[in-house]
């Protein structure tokens, strides 16, 4: 951790209170629009246009990890760190065709769990729910810990105060605003993140030119420019496969498909992917300036705040605070809303209390938002590991869902026993690879094993799935 905070405590308090009030007020305001039924609360009325749809994908995918961990891997692995992280955009690009198919096949569905239950049956659905819950908790914890670390490093706040504040704000406006509040605030947060990142990059590279950075790296840190760096090559495809696993299975992205107008679904994922892909390269390029200027970086996941404050002074620290606060809240709100939908729809309405009314589903979703917010605070109470290491760990789980989901959407032969086995075996082998080979290999091994099991299992014992079963959730 840095010795002295980068921001004056008074300014940090002002920013924290101002943005907290803004997000909560906007969330409450947007939450009052619409008809107030469950579809409105869970899916913002199913009629979001292209601008909001693209911006919410962008904001949800720019996580605390993109603004803290992408510069970290740019700093430690150089070009392969930046390019490998940017490959996480693949998840959004490749989900675009799947999204059209989902929208046409399941016009009344609400969650990714609806698809797995109807397509592969209840055993596979239970395995899927275990995977997505474990992943969601891991993801929520990384954002909670990121919030605590950020406020501690930037302003000297106690770790727990920062963590509780950010999670509390996101939980509050998600509770009152539902998906409409989440999408509306995501739009503003994504524009803030993009505009301020451009500002930092332009001002930073105005102080030290691109050629000067290249010269310093080539002379002092050539490994960062080395396209044959072993650790970089290992990292390269992992993030792409991880992102496919995350986007294909997680209800954050499925809920965006259900919430958007049919005509904008494909374009929003392509545009969101294009916009997002530039972010890890820009933040990684900013982190490379720390190496070029020989900036002392006591903790590598703080390289982005440190170099920005170094180059731009206290104004830089303010900009970093806003960027990372917006990244964390925009991801936390999406995770909370989409996970609440999944639990209310899949666990409560289809398992624990079948036949409950729409109003009861809406109420259950609200209770789950609060419960998940409190659980995230509890699990993030102790900072226990590198955020990115934890995320790589969960990559082993989510990458096992890539082939079962994609094959199940397109091919009637995709077999339910093979899908269950693919998720279980992919997860186990991915976790073993994490421990025995390298954390960067977890998603790759999981995806490869899962693809093999799914492909061979469906070839040997093809199912004859009747697609109309997906029409009614």
């Amino acid at each position: 951790m840095t010795d002295a905070p980068l921001l004056d405590a008074g300014i940090a308090w002002f920013l924290l209170v101002a943005f907290s009030v803004l997000w909560i007020a906007l969330g409450v305001w947007w939450g009052k629009r619409g008809k107030g039924d469950a579809d409105d609360y869970l899916l913002a009325g199913r009629n979001i246009g292209l601008a909001l749809s693209t911006a919410t994908l962008m904001a949800s995918w720019v996580t605390g990890n993109t603004t803290l961990a992408a510069p970290e891997v740019g700093y430690t692995l150089g070009l392969w760190g930046m390019l490998g992280y940017a490959l996480a955009g693949l998840g959004l690009f490749l989900f675009a065709p799947l999204a059209i198919r989902i929208k046409r096949l399941m016009p009344t569905a609400r969650t990714s769990g609806d698809f797995v239950r109807l397509r592969y049956g209840r055993v596979c659905w239970a395995v899927f729910l275990l995977i997505t819950m474990a992943y969601t908790l891991g993801f929520l914890i990384t954002q909670g810990m990121g919030a605590g670390l950020l406020l501690q490093a930037l302003s000297g706040f106690d770790y727990r105060l920062g963590m509780v504040s950010v999670i509390g704000v996101s939980t509050t406006y998600t509770l009152f605003g539902g998906m409409r509040g989440v999408v509306g605030t995501d739009f503003i947060q994504s524009l803030l993140i993009m505009a301020l990142l451009v500002l930092v990059a332009v001002l930073g590279y105005g102080r030290i030119s691109v050629d000067e950075v290249y010269g310093a790296l080539a002379a002092e840190h050539p490994s960062r420019l080395n396209m044959l760096l072993p650790a970089g090559l290992l990292f390269a495809w992992n993030t792409g496969l991880f992102s496919m696993g995350e986007v294909f299975h997680n209800n954050i992205w499925w809920s965006r498909v259900f919430a958007s107008r049919p005509s904008v679904v494909f374009r929003s994922f392509i545009l969101g992917g294009l916009a997002w892909t530039t972010v890890p390269i820009v933040t990684g390029a900013i982190a490379l300036m720390a190496l070029a200027t020989n900036l002392e970086v006591p903790q590598v996941n703080m390289v982005f705040p440190l170099i920005t404050a170094q180059l731009l002074g206290s104004g830089g620290a303010i900009v970093v605070f806003i960027i990372i606060f917006a990244s964390l809240t925009s991801t936390l709100d999406s995770l909370l809303a989409a996970s609440a939908d999944l639990i209310a729809e899949d666990v409560v309405a289809h398992w624990l209390r079948p036949g409950i009314s729409d109003a009861q589903i809406r109420q259950a979703a609200r209770l789950v938002v609060v419960g998940l917010g409190l659980l995230t605070m509890l699990l993030s109470w102790q900072y226990f590991t590198s955020m990115y290491q934890l995320l790589l760990f969960t990559g082993a789980l989510v990458a096992s869902t890539i082939w079962p989901i994609a094959m199940g959407l397109y091919w009637p032969q995709a077999n339910r026993q093979a899908a269950t086995a693919a998720m279980v075996l992919g997860s186990i082998t991915g976790l073993l690879a994490y421990g025995l080979v390298a954390p960067y290999c977890a998603a790759l091994v999981s995806a490869a094993v899962s693809a093999g099991v799914m492909g061979l299992g469906s070839h040997w014992n093809p199912e004859r799935f009747e697609w109309r079963l997906l029409a009614d959730r």
């Binding site: 065709p97 072993p230 495809w237 496969l241 025995l436």
Partner: protein, 54 residues
């Protein structure tokens, strides 16, 4: 692991890189074929059944 005694660190990394590229490419091809299969069709009208292959 046995792999470490017969390959350099770079060779191991290149092998894993190649496997990663292969898995990603296979996934892209599967999705592209699936998308082409359903493009412009009724979402419930399976091309295999229409052609009598099922």
């Amino acid at each position: 692991m046995q792999i470490e005694c017969c390959m350099t660190e770079l060779q191991q990394a290149l092998l894993i890189f190649a496997i990663g590229a292969l898995v990603t490419l296979a996934t892209v091809i599967m999705i592209a074929r699936g998308h082409a299969r359903w493009h412009g069709r009724d979402p419930y009208d399976d091309p295999n059944r229409a052609a009598g292959h099922d």
